[in-house]
């Protein structure tokens, strides 16, 4: 049985851990509010952009379409853009995303495809490095950004486009977590290149009218596609950030509760031990007095 002093020390250490997790939970809750409203504010853009792309993709087809829309005409080399957080202490948030990516990697590899990975965020890179370290071609560190915004998404987009222009891959897929609520984030895969009209989005009914393009279809697409990529990447980053804070908040909430349980158990054992000690001492005194 540990001594009373050891019990006291352990209780004190669990208490200070609890204080830290409690503080982290509150910080995450405050940041979550902001990140969540940011992610939700960005949704209309991504949504409308998808509709416009669906529109144009229906109008421009065949060999005239730019490479970003048409693709390279093959799907041998796949690039997986895996977006995770820069920091940990967020429960299974990163593991979920990495697992989804890993499943896709295994699937592609067994189909005889080549896989390359672009890791965004330190945690995902570290987890992927163990099994697929040789496939990581680029790593983007976003820890320098205090706010995720256009700068961050530009950085990711230009990295993807550079690789594309060098002919490094044929198909790019984005892995991130879609924020649904504080306790639920769904890992999502989204095909970036070739740009594809999302399912369920249909071009509007033109009622027989003819679409006009100013200046012309090709030029619009040329300008629109990078914007489209930007929008999708930004949206993914924002969803991820909101999801991260949500996951961190619930992880820290759990940790705080666990620490509370632990403190209760330790205190009970401490008191029991203390009473046992007193009883023992009393018995010693009494039996000593009786012996006289």
């Amino acid at each position: 049985m540990p001594s009373l002093k050891e019990f006291r020390n352990r209780i004190a250490s669990v208490k200070s851990t609890q204080k830290i997790t409690k503080a982290m939970q509150m910080v995450a809750a405050a940041k979550l509010k902001r990140a969540q409203s940011q992610a939700e504010a960005a949704r209309p853009y991504a949504e409308r952009m998808s509709r416009v792309i669906a529109n144009l993709a229906a109008a421009v087809q065949g060999d005239d379409a730019p490479a970003l829309l048409r693709g390279a005409g093959k799907d041998q080399v796949h690039l997986l853009v895996v977006m995770t957080s820069e920091r940990g202490l967020c429960g299974g948030f990163n593991t979920q995303i990495v697992r989804a990516a890993r499943e896709r990697i295994d699937e592609l590899l067994s189909a005889g495809k080549t896989v390359k990975i672009l890791a965004v965020g330190k945690k995902g890179r570290d987890q992927l490095r163990r099994l697929h370290g040789d496939k990581i071609v680029t790593f983007i560190d976003l820890s320098g950004f205090r706010n995720i915004g256009a700068d961050a998404s530009n950085l990711v987009r230009s990295a993807v486009l550079d690789l594309y222009e060098q002919g490094e891959f044929d198909v790019a897929t984005l892995f991130f977590s879609r924020f649904q609520s504080v306790i639920s984030q769904t890992p999502t895969a989204l095909q970036l290149i070739p740009a594809r009209a999302p399912e369920g989005v249909t071009p509007p009914d033109l009622k027989g009218a003819i679409y006009e393009y100013e200046p012309n279809e090709a030029e619009i697409l040329e300008a629109l596609l990078p914007q489209y990529l930007n929008g999708q990447i930004l949206q993914a980053l924002l969803e991820n950030q909101a999801g991260f804070y949500g996951a961190q908040m619930s992880a820290m909430d759990n940790a705080t509760r666990n620490a509370g349980d632990l403190i209760r158990k330790l205190t009970l054992r401490y008191n029991r031990q203390r009473q046992a000690n007193i009883t023992k001492e009393l018995i010693e005194i009494i039996s000593g007095a009786e012996a006289l």
């Binding site: 940011q38 504010a41 960005a42 209309p44 853009y45 409308r48 952009m49 509709r51 416009v52 529109n55 144009l56 915004g149 256009a150 998404s153 509007p204 009914d205 033109l206 009622k207 009218a209 003819i210 679409y211 006009e212 393009y213 100013e214 200046p215 030029e219 619009i220 300008a223 629109l224 914007q227 930007n230 929008g231 930004l234 949206q235």
Partner: protein, 133 residues
């Protein structure tokens, strides 16, 4: 006018406007054009400039920094790279920022910095031009 045009203005960060209006004047790359209800379908690139929203006799001017306008039978959608309500902009502050950006441009010692400064100057100049009118 009985008919109303459903109009949405979104930038990557947020949705600035979504509702029914009478008319919108869009700064297209080939020149400004007005969009009334039941306009024929058009898709156009936008140059940086002021977008005018007319609704119930009131005019609202919003600065858009490039983007796309999409007119469908359902309405007009403007996807702007950046959008700021001109009512929220202070002319003196823009002048000051423009001066700072021009100084940055002069002091720029690398290509990347020069490019960034040039972009900032161009952006501020088009905001100023939109304000002046």
């Amino acid at each position: 006018m009985a008919d109303k045009l459903s109009f949405a203005l979104v930038s990557p960060e947020r949705e600035l406007f979504n509702g029914e209006v009478d008319q919108v004047v869009v700064p297209g790359s080939e020149g400004e054009f007005g969009v009334l209800p039941n306009h024929s379908p058009v898709m156009s690139v936008i140059r940086p400039g002021a977008l005018k929203v007319l609704s119930d006799g009131a005019e609202r001017r919003i600065f858009v920094n490039g983007g796309f306008a999409d007119v469908t039978p359902e309405g007009l959608t403007v996807l702007a790279e950046e959008a700021i309500d001109l009512a929220d902009i202070d002319a003196a502050q823009i002048e000051q920022e423009l001066k700072n950006a021009s100084e940055d441009l002069r002091d720029a010692n690398s290509d990347a910095k020069r490019e960034a400064a040039q972009r900032a100057v161009a952006r501020l100049e088009s905001i100023r031009a939109a304000l002046a009118r």
